[in-house]
C-alpha cells in the first residue's frame, strides 16, 4: 500500500498543467518563487499552492537563502511516473507500428479491388 500511495500522489502532482509548467521551469535549475510567479503569470498564492502539492510528494525541494525560498526539482520522486508512462507509451507504440503494417495490407487490398472493377 505504501508504494501505491506514493505513486498516486506523484501522478496527481503532474496531472495538473500548471504544476507541469513549474516542474519544467525547475528542470532548468533552482528558482525563487518570484521567478515562477513571473514565468507562469499566476498570483503568488496560487503558485505557492502548487508548490506545496509538489513538495508534499517530494517532487520539489526547498531551501532558505537569506529572505528567499529557493525551489529545485527532485527527479527521483518523479521516476515512477516516468517509468509507467514510458512503458505505456512503448506498448502503444508497438501496437501502432503493427497497425501500420495491417493498414498497408488493407490499402493494397483496396487498390487491388479497385483495379478489378
Amino acid at each position: 500500500m505504501a508504494r501505491a500511495a506514493t505513486t498516486a500522489d506523484a501522478f496527481n502532482a503532474v496531472a495538473e498543467p500548471r504544476r507541469r509548467q513549474i516542474l519544467d521551469a525547475l528542470a532548468a535549475g533552482e528558482r525563487p518563487v518570484n521567478d515562477l510567479v513571473r514565468l507562469l503569470g499566476l498570483a503568488q498564492p496560487q503558485v505557492s499552492k502548487h508548490l506545496r502539492v509538489l513538495r508534499e510528494v517530494g517532487a520539489v525541494d526547498v531551501r532558505e537563502q537569506g529572505r528567499q525560498r529557493l525551489y529545485r526539482l527532485n527527479g527521483h520522486a518523479l521516476k515512477p511516473i516516468h517509468d509507467w508512462v514510458q512503458e505505456y507509451e512503448r506498448t502503444w507504440t508497438e501496437r501502432f507500428d503493427r497497425l501500420d503494417a495491417v493498414l498497408e495490407d488493407l490499402k493494397q487490398k483496396e487498390e487491388g479491388d479497385g483495379n478489378d472493377d
Binding site: T7, A8, E87
Partner: protein, 162 residues
C-alpha cells in the same frame, strides 16, 4: 513501410490519459483494423505474445473481449461493453483488466476518435477512469506488468548466458 512515429501519451487530469497517433491511411481503414477481430489479432498484442481471443460485438450494449498469452504462458484478458459506435468516427467502450480484483468496478471508459486529413488519420484514445483510485489501480497494475516484463527479459538474458 510507413512509420508515423511514436504514440503520444499525456496525463490530462487525475482521471484521464490521452493516447494519440497519426496513420498513413484513410479513417475507414483505421476503423476497420480497430474493430475487426482477425485484424485486431494482428496488432493489439504489441509483440508481447500471441492473441488467443478477439471477440467483438460491435453495437451499443455489445461486448468485447481480448486475451493474449505472453511468451511466459500467462494469459492476460481485457473485456468491456460498447457504449457508442459511429462507423469510421468514434467508438466508446468500457475496458476492464481481468488481472486485478473486481475488474468491472475498476473499468475505464475509452473513447477512440478517428479524424482524417489529406488521406491520413489521427487516432486519439481518451482513457477515463471513474475515480482517481481506479486510475491509480490501473497504473499500479500496469507498473507491475512492466516490471514483470523487465524481470522476464532479465531471466532470458541470464539463461542465454549459461
Amino acid at each position: 513501410m510507413t512509420t508515423s512515429g511514436t504514440a503520444t501519451v499525456t496525463l490530462l487530469t487525475d482521471e484521464q490519459i490521452l493516447i494519440t497517433r497519426e496513420f498513413d491511411a484513410p479513417k475507414h481503414l483505421v476503423f476497420k483494423a480497430f474493430t475487426t477481430p482477425e485484424l485486431v489479432k494482428q496488432w493489439w498484442h504489441a509483440n508481447r505474445g500471441e492473441m488467443t481471443v478477439a471477440e467483438i460485438d460491435l453495437r451499443p450494449g455489445g461486448r468485447w473481449r481480448y486475451a493474449a498469452v505472453a511468451d511466459g504462458g500467462m494469459e492476460v484478458g481485457f473485456h468491456g461493453e460498447y457504449r457508442e459506435i459511429v462507423p469510421n468516427e468514434r467508438v466508446v467502450s468500457t475496458e476492464a483488466f481481468e488481472g486485478i480484483p473486481d475488474p468491472d468496478a475498476n473499468a475505464t471508459l475509452n473513447t477512440a476518435t478517428f479524424t482524417e486529413a489529406d488521406g491520413r488519420t489521427t487516432l486519439t484514445i481518451l482513457v477515463e477512469a471513474p475515480s482517481k483510485e481506479v486510475r491509480d489501480a490501473m497504473i499500479d497494475s500496469g507498473m507491475e506488468a512492466g516490471m514483470q516484463d523487465a524481470l522476464d527479459l532479465l531471466e532470458q538474458a541470464a539463461v542465454a548466458l549459461r
